[in-house]
Every structure is written in C-alpha cells, then in structure tokens.
Symmetry: C2
Subunit: 378 residues, 2 copies
C-alpha cells in the first residue's frame, strides 16, 4: 500500500493531498509516470454521513483551488445560500497538476534530481488532471459526486469526467467550453508559448533560482486577456480614452486599454509560473474528445448523469456553436441535457462575471439532481 499524505491547513482553508509515491506513480496519458503528486484543494460546507452531497469545482487555465470565500474566483456563486449552496453541499475545488498553485507541476522538485523539474516535467493532459482529481475524490470516500462544475478549461475537465468516470457523477455542468480545441484556439495558445520561449530568461525552462521570463509571460497573459473580453466589452470599458498618467515615452501605454493589459500582464507574473503556462496550454491544445475518429454520437454513450451546458453570446474564444456541439453529442447519446446561452457582452470572461444568471440556472438544476436522488438533503 502506498503512502498517502493528507494534510489540512485550517488557517487558510488551503489543503493538500499527496499520493502516487513510487512505485505507485500515476501513469500519464502519454505513457510517462509521475509521482509523488500533491494536489492543492479547498473545501466548503460539510460532507454528509453518506458522502453523497459533494460537488467538485474545476478551474480554468490560470485559476486555483480558491474558488469561494474572500477573493475566490467564483465567490459570488459558491457559499451559504448561494447558487452552489455550501449549507447543502460539500464543495471541493481542486487545483490541477501541471499548475503552480500548490499542486505538482514543473516548478516542483523532481525527486530524481532534487531540483525543480522545469521542462523535464512530463507532458500532461486534461485526462491526467482528472485522473489525479479522482484520487482525491476517492480519498474522501465519495462514490458519487452530485455534480462536477467548471468553465473554460474547467469545462474540459467536466467533459473528461463525463467520459472517464461516468458512474462517479450524478450531474455535470460544462460552461463556455468545447469538445475539442480548434486551430484558432491552438494558435492563440501557441503564440503565447512562443512569447514565453522567446524570452532569454526562459532558458529552456530551467530558470528557477534566477530571473523568471517575466516579459514573455506578461505578453502571453496580455494575449489571453484580449481573447477573454469582447469587442463590445472593451469598447464599453475603455473606449479610446487616454491614460492621464502616460509616461513620456513614444511607445508607452497611452490608451487605457494598453494600461489595463500591462497591469494584467505584470500582475500575472507575480502569481504564475511560466512553465506551468506552457504545460497547461499544451494540455488544453491536446484536448479532443473526438480523437481516434470517434463519432459525436458515441462520446457520451451510456452516461446517466444529467447535464447542463451553458455558453455566452459574446464569447468568441469558446463560441456558442461549440457548446451546441456538446449538447448535440449528449442528445445523440440520449443524455438528459439542458442548454442555455446567456446573453452577455463580457466575452469569455462571462463565465466568471455573469454569476447572477449562473446562480439561477445552477441552483434550479442542482435541485432537480438532488430531488431525483435525495442526495442533497441532510
């Protein structure tokens, strides 16, 4: 039996779970072994005696386990009496492997060398992220989750749960996501990676202990932010207004939109690891539930979970037609599926911002799941 560390840091609500010590490493989708693995996670609410009231929240590219509570990335949606009601449900949010927010990733120590992995870290997939999360869910003794919920890359993890562990979930809510990454989506990620790798401080990924590739990562994040907003939301937020405090330099940020992008780029560098950005975007690009010439009708064959698919009208990074393809795949498999497009101007960011409408949709949907199985009642 392998050793598993399961620690709870009560002060910060941030916890870690370590598993997969050699020789019981996680075998990754591309064949390599990874272990030991630490997953950072947070929980809210109380797991009932039947272990039947748990909901798993999964996060997007730059997210982390801090979904709820002060400054949580979905704090308006998760909490007592909220859309995902922590008085009723035990809510777990797990960080992903490959990341840099407490879970094992390229900045973690490589047990074989005693140095950070850097680019010796193996390539991971969305499937690997979900396989690691499954170990966490098992550790809690949860046989069936009430739901698994996430947007963007979180939505891909939700879809992966539907495919890899259909019997472990009673429902699923994939938001603003896609069955497979398209060339345009790959292209934006690739340019971001190129920006990072063009930074001489990147040093083929072995920069830990010296300067980080800050300029490259900032450019990558700026590209991301453009794709997260919409033409309309940018026009509304910034117009062509000039910054009052413009620096006296020819190519400085003059327009407010430029200042905003710089701010976002610079701030990101303080909290995110450039190598994690490479690995996670690559995992996203590999995501394709239709690979191996799989038919749309067979992806979710046999799935008994209820599904709620949500997309946003102004989201051009993960456009509505991609959510409709998920719905079609579900319907072709006879899955009980509800679909809603929210009429928002916030672009892809809508999944983080339109929490009022998401609250209504998710609350009612979870009620139907709980009522059907009597699972949410304590």
């Amino acid at each position: 039996m392998e050793e598993q560390k399961f620690t709870i840091n009560k002060d910060e609500n941030s916890q870690t779970f370590t598993f997969g010590n050699p020789p019981a490493e996680l075998i990754l989708d591309l064949g390599e072994k990874l272990g030991p693995i630490t997953l950072a996670y947070e929980t809210w609410g109380k797991l009932n005696e039947q272990n039947s009231n748990a909901i798993l929240i999964v996060h997007a590219l730059s997210g982390d386990s801090h979904a709820a509570g002060a400054d949580g990335w979905w704090e308006n949606l998760i909490g007592p009496g909220k859309g995902i009601d922590t008085d009723k449900y035990f809510v777990i949010c797990s960080n992903v492997i490959g990341g840099c927010r407490g879970s094992t990733g390229p900045s973690s120590m490589n047990p074989k060398t005693g140095e950070p992995y850097g680019t010796d870290f193996p390539i991971i997939t969305i499937g690997d992220m979900v396989n690691a999360q499954k170990r966490l869910i098992d550790r809690f003794g949860i046989e069936k989750l009430v739901s698994v919920i996430g947007g963007s890359m979180g939505g891909m993890q939700v879809l992966q749960w539907m495919v890899a562990y259909p019997d472990t979930i009673r429902s699923a809510i994939p938001i603003a996501t896609t069955l497979k990454h398209t060339p345009q989506q790959i292209a934006f990620n690739e340019v971001s990676r190129q920006a990072i790798m063009a930074d001489p401080d990147w040093k083929n990924g072995h920069y830990y202990g010296s300067a980080v590739p800050a300029k490259g990562l900032a450019v990558a994040r700026m590209i991301g932010h453009i794709t997260y907003m919409s033409d309309a939301s940018m026009a509304e937020k910034f117009g062509r207004r000039l910054r009052p405090d413009k620096e006296p330099f020819k190519f400085s940020a003059e327009f407010e939109v430029e200042g905003y992008l710089h701010y976002r780029g610079d701030n990101f560098v303080k909290r995110f690891d450039a190598n994690s950005y490479l690995y996670i975007t690559k995992a996203i690009d590999y995501f394709n539930l239709l690979n191996g010439n799989k038919k749309l009708a067979s992806i979710f064959a046999g799935l008994k979970a209820k599904v709620l698919v949500i997309s946003f009208k102004s989201d051009w990074l993960y456009p509505t037609y991609q959510s409709q393809e998920i719905v079609k795949a579900c319907k072709l498999s006879g899955v009980d599926t509800t679909y809603c497009e929210i009429n928002s101007t916030y672009g892809h960011d809508s999944f983080l911002l339109e929490t009022e409408q998401e609250t209504q949709l998710i609350k009612h949907f979870l009620n139907t799941v709980s009522n059907g199985h009597n699972g949410g009642k304590q």
Copy 2:
C-alpha cells in the same frame, strides 16, 4: 524651390520620389518636421494626356508598392483587362512613410546624425502617410484621381483621402476598414508591440548594424496572422492535423497551424523592420476620424466623390458593423455610396483573397465613375 528627386528604375518597375528637403520638410500631424522624404512606388498602365485616368492603390500594414505584376499582393485584381484595368487606367501604388520597403522610415538615415533614425524617427499618422502621397500625385500633375482604393490600413488611407483631399478624388473604395480603431484592435497591436520591445535585441530601437529583434517580431506577426484569418478558415485549412516533420522537442510546433504561424513569423522577419512595425501599428491606433467629438454626419460633409464600401462577413478584426458605420457617415452627408458585404470565410484576409468578387464590384463601380466624367476613356 526645393529640390525633388524623381527616379525611375525601369528594370524592376520600382521607383522612388524624394521631396521635402529642409527647410521644406513635411510638417507632421503631431508637429514634428520630417525631410527629406523618399516614397517608393510602382505604376502600371499609361497616364493619359489629360492626366485624368489615374488610380491610387494604398496598402495595408505589411504591404508595399508591389501591388500588381508577378507576386504582387493584388495581382489578380490589377492588370490588363482585370478589375482595375491597366489598359484603361494609370495605376499607382505608393508605399507608406514609416515603412521599410523603400520609403523613409525608422531604418532610414537620419540626416542630422548620419545614422539610422531608430526610435528617433517621429511618430507618424495615417494623415501624414496621405499627405506624402498627395505630393507624389501632385508631382505626376494629376489634379483628380479616378479613385483611391485600399483595404485594412489601406482603407484608412482611403478614408483619410476622402477627408483631407475631397476635391482630388472622383471616387473612393475603402475595404475592410474602420472610421476609428477600437480598443480591441488597439489591444492586438499593443501586444504585438510589447512582444517586439520585450526582445532584448530591440535595444530601444537602436539595433541597426547588429542582431534584429527577430523573435519578438515573429511573435508579433503570428498574433497578426491569427487576426487575419477566421475560426472557420483555420478549421478548414488546418483542422487538428499534426505535422509530419515535427521536431523532437516538447514544445515544438506539432499542429499544422503552429507550423504555419512559425513559418509566417520567421519569413516576415526577413522582409520587415521591427521598428516600422511599431510606427505603423501606432499610426493605425491613432486613426480616428471621429476625434475632437466630430459627429458621424459631419465627417464627409461636402464630399462629391462616389464611394464603394466593401466588407467581409467572417472578418472579425474589422467587422462589418464598422464598414456599415462608414456607409452611415457617408449617407448622412449625402455622399453617393454603395455598400456590399461579401460572404467569405477567409476573415480579414478576404480583402486579399476574394479578388473574383472584388473584380466584379470594382469594375462596374469604376465604369460608373468613368462614364460620369469621361475620364477613363482614352
């Protein structure tokens, strides 16, 4: 009287016009003086005796004066018997100032120092580009152009001609363009500039004689290419196909779309100057015919030229609504305006690729202009 050099290189069809020697420099929109100025241009067809059959073609961000002939960027549209018929019209295509394709720009010699300008080159605007072109048209003795035609940044120059020299044009064809650059458009340009300036080889713009900021410029170009295509055209061209000749490196270009972007980025570096990319994108970002709180109805007041506005359905960089705003501004001023949206999937690149449909539209439009004034007949 200032000295003007007017040279013709018969072998390559590439010609230059030099003017604005001190103290007769061009006074730029932002107040600085620039001179001497060389404009590279090419011509096709023959100027008639009345100098009344000339058409000016203006190019986009990375374009040059080589619009027609072998490998010309609009070779399918311009030539004997083509949409812009060089048997009938004398066609001039002028490069822009700030560029690096034969015209005065940041890589040109600064007469004050004897060194390349670098970032000592003054900030230029679309208005400055057009003012320089006007000098070229004057030098030919052309009082009225049959038309001025261009797409993207070329379209901005067309709009600027309509505003600055309304009596010099009998018609205008702005294609896939906008009255003012929006925050989203500025954002893409700004991230491109940041990628260039993050390259340590940029050296604040004074890199001539040493290594050029190749990696930064390649990233900038890759960002551009994503915005020039569409989700649909990328899906059609690349799908999720993998490259057969993938390098054995973790973050190498595996997907065909990645290989394409690398190829485009690397090739661009061989023919374009990074500083010109900074200056020209900045000129584009400054473009705003509505500045100074100008009303839509007053932009083109008094314009007697006929106008044909063309946009493309899948162009998300310069979306159709922006062309419709141009049409609205024209109509509000009583300008004789025709509008057509071409149903293409090529995205912004459509203006370079949909030459068959453009041929029909432009040929008929130019006929109505010529017939009205008897100018195209020789």
